[in-house]
Symmetry: C2
Subunit: 222 residues, 2 copies
Amino acid sequence: MGDYNIATYARRRRPLDPISVSIIEDDHDIRASLSLIIDGAEGFECISNYGDAETALQDISQDMPDVILMDIELPGMSGIDCVRQMKKQMPECDILMLTVHDHDKIVFESLCAGACGYLTKNTRPRHILNAIREVRSGGAPMSTNIARMVVNSFKTRHSVGLSDREREVLSQLCTGKSYKMIADTLFISSDTVRSHIKNIYKKLEVSSNAEAVARALKEKLV
Amino acid sequence: MGDYNIATYARRRRPLDPISVSIIEDDHDIRASLSLIIDGAEGFECISNYGDAETALQDISQDMPDVILMDIELPGMSGIDCVRQMKKQMPECDILMLTVHDHDKIVFESLCAGACGYLTKNTRPRHILNAIREVRSGGAPMSTNIARMVVNSFKTRHSVGLSDREREVLSQLCTGKSYKMIADTLFISSDTVRSHIKNIYKKLEVSSNAEAVARALKEKLV
DNA sequence: TGAAAAATCACCCGTTCGGGTCATATCGCC
DNA sequence: GGCGATATGACCCGAACGGGTGATTTTTCA
């Protein structure tokens, strides 16, 4: 803990130090070329690399890198679980996923675990270096298609054919209010609220309060 | 509708056409310089610009731009509401927010409304042109700090001191299961589930199913 | 104009939920 | 060894909820 603070302090005091990078990637060739790319560039330093998550988790706190490049498909523990652990050990460290996967689930899980950026493996060397610089200066570098995926995930979907009033009631429900409280807020009787909610349940194909709230929030219906 | 499809078809067939851009921005000077920047660049064309949302909404369907640059602070209807309307009229059109605001709420509201990217106004002219190109090729250009803000919003927070078992029960609750169903899933009695849930309520400071689910999902506790 | 959809309200009935209280077993930690 | 936190379980009670049925009014749209 003491060491940790000193390291952080040193990094802040000497911003012209090279950015130190660790690589976690099971393919030896890719690991070697990433290493070369980073060490060969002005202002970057590859201080360690690992072929699996377990070894990395054990040893990386000695390295204290500024940035980690993380593959997802590793033997044993996945790169995503590894991110979760790493972030507990070193919350100040920026982790960039560098992987072939570009499916929603994997991308979002990585970001939830604490990754600060997400590059697909076809990214050119100079773009990788740019991304490392960018993440270190407070950004979140992503491949273009990943960025769009991330931004699209915010879009409110109105897929289910709820009426305006029903959406209004549902959004009240999502604040955790009781029928009575919703009724008071919308200036209608609580029987009317019940009536709306029964219709909402039918349209959402659910049968309880919690289920409706869960669907509404997960699918961004409100 | 017919016109709309023809326009789309034409755009897809002739990718070398300049990218057509409309600007919605109330400051005349900024509007004029953006116009100049875009028209002065190879491969771009500024086909229209508006000083307020209402006029834009009325007339822009004639312009059918590929990309819209949208300010947020407009006289009358806000840029965010304008995005919502525009997206209904022209779902294929990419909208980039170009504004001074960089507060969470405004940024996320913009993206929920359907914006495909978000640039802060200190963005350099050539970066604006890059962003337009990027959004047109399926990306989601954002200023670096905005990107980090967006990515951070995914992070699972474990701020509230729930025990592992409590988190497990809560995550079941968030799927909309009844106490009985959770009990069966976790192989415990439903009275135990109730007991856990009562403790969860205390820790989350809530007093109902819906409220707990809402907090858990909104604050990403599970 | 006239049918369909949406919004409003009411009542019944059985089930689930929320709050309270209490008890036991286990685990980690000082 | 004992204290606190956690996990497990039970019982009671009243309030809230879910499902069904039915009715009136307003809005919408063809």
